[in-house]
């Protein structure tokens, strides 16, 4: 079972709650996804039109709330948002996002590390959103991050996993859970992430903009479960065995006559 900072999750699918057509569709999609962790953002109350609060739309007894710091362009802004998020939610869990470039929304590694160091000192459970940089992931782990969230491809692009080599290294090296975030556009991408050994995936846009977000949520749920199952079953080993009928043909051999019997 997935465990982050001593909390267990039976679902490995995290769901973002942005961009849905309505909060009721969002709620149904979250339910259908089986997710136990949803991300939310902080914004000023729209005074002209104080819509329903998202906290009341979700069943918080079943679902962990993961506030993010979206909109923060540097460490200072992210830390301020973190304080507000903790005050508003009562949770000290945080998805740390620092995105200075408004076009690509790619995360700033330097300020992400700075903010992580500070927030860990203040007792936050920090899950930083990062580019798929293995050394950064390890530096964040060393700084006390509870998980790392490398991107599959730039956010909102639905391009799937374009950072495969780096993500593989992160998965192989990190001690903390690896949650693949951003760019997961289709259930097949999510399954692929899980087959690679990611601990979880976070999906938002792909659900929110689907023709039927609720059915898409179900599809992602199944894909994540299938991918995880395949990973645990030892996927590589199975496909490799299938070629066993041609026993290592073409493989070099070395002369070992120097070895004494």
């Amino acid at each position: 079972m997935l465990s982050i900072a001593d909390t267990s999750f039976s679902s490995r699918l995290f769901v973002g709650t942005g961009k849905f057509a309505s909060s009721s569709i969002m709620r149904q999609a979250v339910e259908a996804s089986g997710s136990e962790m949803v991300t939310v953002a902080l914004r000023r109350v729209d005074l002209e039109n104080p819509a329903d609060d998202i906290m009341t739309a979700l069943d918080l007894t079943k679902i962990h709330f993961l506030p993010n710091t979206s909109g923060a362009r540097n460490a200072e802004e992210a830390i301020r948002l973190a304080h507000l998020a903790r005050a508003a939610s009562g949770t000290s869990w945080l998805k740390l996002e620092v995105t200075p470039d408004p076009r690509t929304l790619l995360p700033d590694p330097v300020d992400t590390l700075k903010a992580t160091e500070e927030l860990v000192r203040e007792g936050f459970t920090v899950l930083p959103y990062i580019n798929a940089d293995p050394i950064l992931a390890l530096r964040l782990q060393d700084a006390g991050a509870a998980a790392v969230m490398p991107l599959a491809s730039p956010i909102g692009t639905n391009q799937g996993i374009r950072t495969t080599m780096q993500v593989e290294i992160i998965i192989a090296q990190a001690r903390v859970p690896v949650v693949l975030d951003a760019g997961i556009g289709a259930p097949s991408h999510a399954a692929q992430a899980m087959e690679m050994g990611a601990d979880a995936v976070l999906v938002n846009t792909a659900l929110a903009v689907a023709g039927d977000p609720v059915r898409m949520a179900r599809a992602f749920k199944a894909a994540v479960e299938a991918g995880r199952e395949a990973f645990e079953a030892g996927l590589g080993r199975q496909s490799k065995t299938a070629s066993a009928s041609s026993p290592l043909s073409g493989m070099l051999t070395a002369d070992l006559n120097f070895i004494q019997a």
Binding site: L138, E168, A172, Q173, R175, G234, G236, R237, K240, T241, S243, A244, P247, L248, M251, L252, T253, A254, D255, L256, N257, F258, I259, Q260, A261
Partner: protein
């Protein structure tokens, strides 16, 4: 929290079911897990040894290039408070005991320096009161400007002691568990602090916490089931890699050989077994340094070059003061490859590899500047 290695009975259960298909899968897979390692170490893999050797050689050359590192051990002292059944230095053994003075140790090091060595491994028995951290720090300060790499293979130390030696200029720590089989461990460690399996297995963690550039682990082959020993080494390596990602790791496989009057190995490990073990670990962890010392014979060392090992000792004497006196009395173990350093280097070069004596320049690294060097006369 030290790493917990499963009982050998459990490790043998991972090894037992491995089939030829599992070995083929491991040979063609890209990221091997511990079950692949089990397959490669299993009896089923023996018929694939030529394929394993070729694949291991490919990986070794891909990761390390056509180079082989060369080093020499420098024995500082053969005093020891432990009684390890397999070791000539064991307390109570009637051998001439000697601890080099700092001047003598420096003279030995300078002989190695003149022969061209830039990496030396400082070795001693485990007798902290006779040869402690003060001594090690002093000899390090004397040698550090002349050698690119200074490793130690001495008694396990505490973290603050490792920290002190790191700041003085020691670059690497080697500490071998000897065997990961607890039952055998208890049987062959008859007296002394080394009897504490858990303290010993936690030692690489303490060195890792101090920030060493390189840490060596190892098993003495001939004490317990070498296949399970290989799995345990893989697990230990995996554990350390997850904790100390900035540290490079090496593995040594000193092999006990039957010798008249000496400790009779509890199990026989052949050259074939040793090579299977080295190929397996290479395929399991493409980046790990693998050491093949002069315990092994020249014929075997020459044949293995480029197939898995990355580091060879050369021209070794394992008695304190042996380089100066030219005598091998009071050695820890006898040497299988008696060639000089330049002979070994010629062999390496003749096989198309570059013998590397110096991997880096100390000048450009931040560690060894922390402890001010006293002038040599003061020490």
């Amino acid at each position: 929290m030290p790493p917990s290695i499963p009982q050998f009975s459990q490790l043998r259960q991972w090894l037992a079911p491995a089939t030829g298909d599992d070995v083929r899968a491991a040979l063609t897979g890209k990221r091997l897990d511990i079950h692949d390692l089990a397959a490669l170490l299993s009896p089923a893999a023996e018929q694939f040894l030529p394929e394993m050797a070729a694949r291991s050689g490919e990986v070794t050359i891909q990761r390390f290039g056509r180079t082989t590192q060369i080093y020499a051990p420098l024995y500082l002292s053969n005093f020891c408070i432990n009684r390890c059944a397999y070791c000539g230095f064991a307390a109570g053994n009637p051998i001439p005991r000697r601890k080099l003075t700092l001047d003598e140790a420096e003279a030995e090091a300078m002989i190695l320096y003149k022969r061209g060595f830039r990496h030396i491994l400082l070795v001693s028995g485990e007798a902290p009161k006779t040869l402690g951290v003060d001594y090690l720090e002093a000899i390090t300060l004397r040698l550090r400007d002349r050698f690119a790499a200074l490793s130690i293979e001495v008694q396990p130390l505490d973290e603050d002691e490792y920290d002190r030696l790191f700041k003085a200029g020691i670059t690497a720590v080697a500490v071998y568990q000897e065997t990961y089989d607890r039952r055998v461990y208890d049987r062959v460690h008859l007296a002394g602090k080394k009897c504490d399996y858990d303290y010993r297995i936690g030692t690489p963690d303490r060195a890792g916490a101090a920030g060493y550039r390189e840490i060596g682990i190892g098993a003495l082959l001939g004490l317990a089931d070498w296949r399970a020993e290989g799995l345990a080494l893989g697990l230990h390596l995996q554990w350390l890699r997850k904790r100390f990602w900035q540290t490079a790791f090496t593995v040594s496989f000193p092999r006990l050989r039957p010798a008249a009057g000496a400790f009779e190995p509890l199990v026989t490990v052949s050259e074939k077994n040793l090579s299977q073990l080295m190929f397996s670990l290479r395929l399991f962890d493409p980046d790990v340094g693998l050491i093949l010392s002069t315990r092994e014979e020249a014929r075997f060392r020459d044949g293995m070059l480029g197939l898995a090992p990355t580091r060879y000792s050369a021209g070794s004497c394992t008695a304190p003061g042996g380089y100066t006196s030219g005598e091998h009395d009071g050695e820890q173990f006898s040497i299988g490859d008696l060639r000089t350093m330049s002979e070994v280097c010629s062999m390496v070069a003749a096989k198309g590899f570059d013998p590397v004596c110096k991997d880096w320049d100390r000048e450009f690294q931040t560690q060894g500047n922390s402890t001010a060097a006293p002038s040599i006369q003061q020490v």
